[in-house]
Amino acid sequence: MSAIAAKPGANAGAFQPVASVIAIILAIIFIGVAYFLGNSGILAGGAMLPAQTLVGIIVGAALIAFGVHFVPVGGAPAAMGQSPGIATGVAMLATGAGLAGLFGGAWAASLGFGVALAGGAIGGGLMMAITCLMVNISYVYGMGIPAASGKVEKDPITGDSQAAYKSQGTEGHGLPFISYVGGVIGGLFGGLGGTLIYIELLDFYNASFPALNIAGEGASALAVGLAGIFAIGMFLVIAVLSAYNITGTIEGPHDPKFKRFPRAIVAAICASGICGLVALLVVAIL
């Protein structure tokens, strides 16, 4: 079997109603378990805090999954000017932007919830904005190739015609403006989601440590370390699941594959539910 002959054509993008409903029910069960554990004192913070934290984590994961679908990725053909998009893997590029956002968000965490989230989003968007610009500069000034999409006749934002600027024998190349904007939006959502997961976990761990007799100057560093590695691990899981949903390459929000995003959001909700629940249980009062 060839690695690129991935899936049989027609139903590859179809939404799975039964499985999705089961997934959402599972996620609600996980939130319920968190509420129950908080109520019974196994998780610190009373009844509401664990459940609130888990809901925050789930929302963050959904944002990440949504954002990954905006990022224009062309894969191996893009490296030869055969298809539009960035010549890297979906999961890794989205994670790179999201973690750059997490860097900014973690730095602003002490200034307040809203500021930290906004900082995280801007960090991710900024990284994608600069990267996409340099990709276009490399194509235009280094290789003499204008940007052109292979999936639409006209760019949805600028109205530029695409077909005439597409070289023969290829599917398009570079980053047309819609792909650029898609990349920035993807970075924004990724940074936002990642920072949200991190801040929720950080607040929960800081609230739980006194009950576990962890106190002193180093305790906040431990909370940061725990929340950080969990945020990174969960980001990678969600990004890889979203990449499986996209099956390889996507040109941006104008690509027909973009319409598959509801599946990824449902998948992210359920996956982050179980991962988040286990992350909360790490500081259980046993």
């Binding site: 191996a76 053909p77 490296a79 030869m80 000017g81 055969q82 010549a87 890297t88 890794m92 590029l93 994670t95 790179g96 973690l99 750059a100 997490l102 860097f103 973690a106 730095w107 602003a108 200034l111 307040g112 500021v115 900082g119 801007i122 968007g125 900024l126 990284m127 904005a129 600069i130 990267t131 996409c132 340099m134 990709v135 276009n136 500069i137 490399s138 194509y139 235009v140 000034y141 280094g142 290789m143 190739i145 204008p146 940007a147 530029d160 005439a164 600027y165 070289s167 023969q168 024998g169 290829t170 398009g172 047309p176 403006f177 650029y180 906040s220 940061v224 370390g225 950080g228 990174i232």
Partner: protein, 295 residues
């Protein structure tokens, strides 16, 4: 006030280090032919084109560089805990990371080439010996500068993340930025230099990579000289700008409007880059014109 001045100095230094890191990273991954262009190096023997290019199939650049930088940060931290001088600790970490990188590169080349024996692609031991050491040299520069930038962010700018966590963040960003900017330049311009300039490679030409140079059969060492012309500096500029603006907007504007100052400045910077990109796109369309049928 003094905090801000020190912060700006560190920001400038970290930005410069990041620019060097980006350039070295792209040069290294092109010499070793890592990442997406490597699929052509893998494909060529299957289409009958034997070659002497280094087939360095170590995942993609983002995860690989995340590993090298994180492990260098971790080892540097261990040496710092043993009260070794900071610069020396970072050097030790980078040396171990470069060693691991070199080993992974050799096993990848041997593995992929040995599995292509059906198509008659030989293992060239002289390519292994000559190219591996060159990639390790460039990797050393890239890893050292990134770890130093992470160290500065941790100690001088007081970022809450521990050193290895910063290593994951910036190693991944380095690999993603360098891969995005530098891969098409290497993949299209050097690998397919025999195709027409100014157009993408037609799908029918897959596998027919450039295997001969001025003096006969080439290896991928000359990708270094080629990358230094545009791909390397462009990747360096990309990563340098990312690090610089991320730090600059926070250090200068975090105290303004309770933290929202940094956010507003970030939005302005994104919009500026968007305008520049639109200008570049329109410039290309105006100056290159649409593709016409061959006369």
């Amino acid at each position: 006030m003094q905090e801000i001045i020190i912060g700006i100095g560190v920001t400038a230094l970290a930005g410069a280090l990041a620019a060097v890191a980006g350039a070295a990273e792209d040069t290294e991954s092109n010499i070793g032919s890592q990442g997406d262009p490597n699929s052509q190096v893998q494909l060529a023997p299957q289409m009958g084109y034997t070659h002497r290019i280094y087939n360095k199939a170590v995942s993609g650049e983002p995860p690989a560089y995340t590993l090298w930088v994180t492990l260098a940060c971790g080892v540097a931290w261990a040496f710092l805990m043993m009260n070794v001088n900071a610069v020396l600790a970072i050097i030790f970490g980078t040396v171990l990371a470069t060693f691991v990188q070199g080993i992974y590169a050799t096993t990848a080349y041997l593995g992929r080439t040995a599995s292509l024996s059906k198509f008659g692609q030989p293992v060239f031991i002289d390519v292994l010996k000559s190219v591996t050491t060159v990639t390790m040299g460039h990797a050393f520069v890239a890893i050292f500068t990134t770890v130093t930038a992470c160290y500065l962010m941790s100690t001088m700018l007081h970022h809450p993340f521990a050193l290895p966590l910063l290593g994951i963040v910036w190693g991944l960003a380095l690999g993603a930025a360098g891969s995005a900017t530098g891969n098409p330049y290497y993949g299209k311009e050097r690998q397919y230099q025999n195709q027409k300039f100014g157009a993408g490679v037609p799908i029918s030409a897959s596998g027919n990579i450039v295997r001969y140079a001025e003096a006969g059969q080439r290896s991928s060492i000359d990708n270094g000289f080629f990358t230094a012309k545009l791909g390397g500096p462009a990747s360096g500029l990309c990563f340098g700008l990312i690090v610089f603006f991320e730090l600059w907007r926070t250090v200068l504007f975090e105290q303004v409007a309770g933290g929202w100052g940094a956010v507003i400045v970030g939005v302005i910077i994104i919009l500026v880059f968007m305008i520049i990109d639109r200008y570049v796109e329109k410039w290309a369309r105006k100056n290159y014109g649409p593709y016409t049928a061959e006369a």
